[in-house]
């Protein structure tokens, strides 16, 4: 998309291969990231480096030259995992909950201003889903403020990370995500056996396998080949 970082929406399905022993769910490795300088290098002394904030952002919210991935890598004291989407409305309530289930402390969804959405109602849909997910989190006493929505446009990488920082501040009173100490940490294979696909995070529709005669919709098996992030990164670099 020419934004200097890879688009998860364009990431190809990974081929067969073993699940790599990495906890990072980094789909944002940009092409030639190591050579590109970045202005955003921060040190958040008052935040725990264990704090993880996932930033889901519409591709139209950031400036063309924003190098979000590199800026996020250079952050200190706060782990930010940015994921670009073709539209903020690609996020589903289930995606938000899955991210938290896997141990992220908070999620910031960055959408276009209401009247700037290329899909007209995309950012409104995103807001509705954030509100729904927040209500559900309140219901289970996880804290609705773990999820947030911002409406911005032409953000620099630094400004995007400011939003992550603000979200980290908002979740701080809640303490760490209680799911952190479970085996299903964010970026690792989910310990549960429900088989949700990793690439559900990129907004693809869930696996709807309607096999001949059985007419069964399975959430899918947690096949290692679907979770090979290293190969997915290679695919991103194309």
């Amino acid at each position: 998309l020419g934004h200097g970082h890879a688009s998860v929406a364009m990431a190809p399905r990974p081929p067969n291969g073993p699940f790599p022993a990495t906890r990072h769910f980094n789909l944002q490795t940009p092409v030639g990231a190591a050579e590109k300088p970045c202005a955003a290098s921060r040190n958040h002394e008052n935040m725990s480096s264990e704090t993880e904030i996932v930033v889901l952002y519409c591709q139209h919210c950031v400036a063309q030259d924003a190098n979000v991935a590199v800026a996020a890598e250079q952050m200190r004291g706060l782990t930010v995992r940015p994921t670009m989407m073709p539209c903020s409305s690609k996020v589903e309530v289930s995606h938000l909950l899955r991210i938290l289930e896997q141990g992220a402390d908070g999620v910031e969804l960055v959408a276009c201003p209401e009247d700037k959405c290329r899909f007209l109602v995309g950012s409104l849909k995103a807001e509705q889903r954030i509100n729904r997910a927040r209500g559900l989190l309140e219901e289970i006493h996880m804290g609705g403020q773990r999820l947030g929505l911002s409406r911005r446009e032409r953000l620099s990488a630094e400004a995007l990370l400011d939003l992550a920082e603000a979200r980290a501040g908002a979740v701080q009173p809640l303490g760490p995500n209680p799911m952190k100490d479970s085996s299903s940490r964010f970026g690792e294979r989910v310990a549960g056996v429900d088989g949700h696909r990793r690439d559900a995070l990129v907004g693809e529709p869930p696996d709807r396998r309607i096999t001949g005669g059985s007419l069964t919709r399975d959430s899918g098996d947690p096949k290692p080949d679907q979770l090979n992030l290293e190969l997915l990164k290679k695919g991103d670099a194309k």
Binding site: L97, R98, E101, I140, P178, V193, D194, G195, P206, T216
Partner: protein, 223 residues
Amino acid sequence: VIVAEWKPVNELAAALGSHGKILLVGCATCVAECAAGGEREVETLAPLLRMALRVEGHPVEIRAKTLERQCEGEFLEELAEIIPEVDAVLSLACGIGVQAVAERFPAVPVYPGVNTTALAIREAPGLWTARCAACGDCVLGETFGLCPVARCAKSLMNGPCGGTRKDGKCEVDENTDCVWNLIVERARARGSLDFLAQVRGPKDWSNSRHGGPKRMLREDLRE
């Protein structure tokens, strides 16, 4: 469609807290249409329940599957291999589907994940309103296609009552149309107001729930 809505998550967590491995089963038919128990809702409820139970100190494994229909035996067979591996089933189907699963797999406890509420139509995105009460004696031919049993708060056969609001809404709920007002308006539009003045015999309620559990038999279809 048959309309249902999620039970409170805390209620589900309380029911499931004693189980370690749970199968969450969705139904891709009616409850998917009303966004209560389809594949998308299964994918939403599974992580939510895991978190809820984890917060309460009861970590569980939740396996998820969505059947095309839970109310028919042939589709239930998809669960046969999974059921022995779980301690309990949480069904997001309507009450029919829950019972179908429980009948097919009597050895495992089956919990309802939704409250089945109505036979309804999707009136607008995110809004479902009741249209049928399965009363067993349909009068829609006499009421211009509008059901007073399901849509009148009092199920009146000779409305409207005196409680209709000036804007044509029901006295019970300001967001609900007075169905008898709608019936009269539709009759007027067709020039058939006289039809409503006719005296009709009492409705036969014996074919509704008042007559006990329903059993429909078609000899021509039996094997």
